[in-house]
Amino acid sequence: MKLILHIWRQPGPKAPGRMERFDLDGISEHMSFLEMLDLLNEKLTAEGKEPIAFDSDCREGICGMCSLVINGVPHGPEKGTTVCQLHMRHFRDGQEIWIEPWRAKPFPIVKDLVVDRSSMDRVMAAGGYVSVNAGSAPDANSVLVGKDTAEQAFEAAACIGCGACVAACKNASGMLFVAAKVSHLGLLPQGREERMRRVRRMVEAMDQEGFGNCTNQYECEATCPKEIPVAFIARMNRDFLKAALFSS
């Protein structure tokens, strides 16, 4: 099949960017979206032009590196799917497609479709852990965790840190990302000791990094490739309130 692509080109962080049009032929419906871009890049290279910069690594939906907005939707039209797992069978021959980077204040553009998400690492550094040094752990079965609790914690822990939730939100809020980590660790007995401190510090770090507020639009949940539910945000808000009460 054949597609008309409009792709964001931006030579560097400070340079101005613009959409550029490419007509691409010879696309197979079995290709993934990124393989379609590989094809385009091979073509550009052959023509002596500079290929389009975009991020990907695992290409199996787990590392969280790929990050494209397709026709206005982070990771594209398929629910619960990262763009590396999106296949061309979901597009029509001749379709026009707009491809843009994550756009959010905490994610400055590096080049073309590549952004800098180190703000998310810094939020994690603020408290997204259990403070336990290697070697100091008790026997794993000495702390029981109910099956349902473990399942729920897992659901939150499934976040791949891609940032689609931020890119989807008109406020560039990082609430779903932070809530997922706060809930994952807060639900488990191992993470309970630091629960209040963790939520306070992560939320503070999130604000400092320029992530916006949550105004309950739930675009994040709709776009999350791991379908992490917004219920975790409510959970985090409760924890945060409690933490604020305790500390005052």
Binding site: D38, R89, A137, D139, A153
Partner: protein
Amino acid sequence: MKLDSKIPGGPLETKWERHRFEMKLINPANKRKHRILVVGSGLAGASAAATLAELGYEVDCFCFQDSPRRAHSIAAQGGINAAKNYQNDGDSVWRLFYDTVKGGDFRSREANVYRLAEVSNNIIDQCAAMGVPFAREYGGTLANRSFGGAQVSRTFYARGQTGQQLLLGCYSALMRQVAAGKVRLHVRMEMLDLVVIDGTARGIVTRNLCDGKIESWAGDAVVLGTGGYVNVFFLSTNAMGCNVTAAWRAHRRGALFANPCYTQIHPTCIPQSGEFQSKLTLMSESLRNDGRVWVPAEAGDTRPPHRIPEEERDYFLERKYPSFGNLAPRDIASRSAKEACDAGKGVGPEVGGQRRGVYLDFADAIARLGREEIAGRYGNLFQMYERITGEDPYSVPMRIYPAPHYSMGGLWVDYNLMSNLPGLHVIGEANFSDHGANRLGASALMQGLADGYFVLPYTIGHFLATHRLEPVSTDHPEFRRIEAEVSERTRKLLAVEGTRSVDSFHMELGTLLWNQCGMSRTKEGLEEALTRIPAIREEFWENVRVPGEGEDFNQSLEKAGRVADFLEFAELMCLDALERNESCGGHFREEYQTEEGEALRDDEHFCHVAVWEFRGVGERPLRHVEELEFENVKLSIRSYK
């Protein structure tokens, strides 16, 4: 060259304990005077960096991704082994040790494997304490499953995303140390060379992938946790960025490379669907616990699966290996699938003139356990399969085919995980030591974390305590010299301005290797590869086109450097395969097989590690050997019948 593996004396069960006592310690107050450079942030790298920082060392941690959390360990699915014996089914440290040595086809070091089995239990404790959401029983205890060729249930798991959850655990420990100021994190930074001063590894040279800046970093020890090299095949289950560069650059600077021909071809991957494909997707082999592998009994039978009656199917693993059946180890399962396809019994679409696929059928399991139970066990894998193939595995049997997945070979290390270059330590998949010629399922995660949490943090202290290291800074002329070499190489890649893309060379190399040095190998095939690789390499340096500039974010340039190294490394891999005149584990030489077509080891001549010394590109490297001694297990024919 004398290779000293530094295996401590005494009985196997007490070697590690004694060694820990005999190793010198560094005074806690002095630890902060030592800077350690850790390259890679996967399970091995991140756990090592975090643990070293917890102990008080100053650590720099480097990764080429935009966050340490994206390292490819994240994609491991199935689980992690430990000898907890929580299931009361007869497991023990000794049994895990024995299974691993046997699974590796008696080509690994007893002492290393025993230590691995010993610390496996600490890993589970550590990970649980860090909040890894392992699967649980209703009573709240940890759940286990049996996995990949084990007859006991010793595998701990977090649905089909165990690697992700374990890596996020290490990542969180790492970020805690970043916040504490003990680890300096360098993302989108690729190691392009190792700096050796007076015979000791003292630093690395990196390229900043955002702006192309070439920089030097000095330290008292360098740790490589840079993963495996099966992306040399172009198509593999590895992430796009996985590469051999760090290990290969260290090899060129004098670090020895061990058993490069030991690669693992994983049996349960989604078959290739076309020529354009960029990578292959693995599905956890836990699927083999309930799925049954079959092909049509008649070659050329192209009826859809549901139209092929039971008696016209060949459940070839169950037929050939009645006691292990569908759970036969990876190398055996992979080779059997290839045999069936080579015999014309493959299923699915034709790619490159052959149907390469066998069925993995859940119909019986669904009938026995119900759809819901199967969804609970494998839901996300089924979803992934459907997303990629457009087929629903609840109603149509999955199609699978083997794909390159893991490298057992790697840089040579001694018992202390140090290479022959003092100061250079190698951990996780990047070293060679624990899996022999074949790795068992759920052992990679165990080894990565064992090295990073519980082995290296001890042994590196001993190195620092017993070596007088002169202070060096990056102003040392050797750093300047190597920086200049790295810049020159980058400039050369850009200056070729030929007509072929980097990928086209990578694909050409990969196809050649897959055919001649993949699942089965022959003398003639390897010799052919050894004449063709230098030709491809030569053409690469004359005709590659790398667009863009060096002082910029330039993904073509990143790839070009990695492929250039693969083009050198591939030769070593084929040479190693050619020189190893036996079949063992993942290394199957067609000339050496039993009448039933099983791998035929030659313990008399090849019960050793092949250890290669670099002598220049295109020069024949030197082959050294480290004899393997088996004092505790009897060398036997690995039978899974």
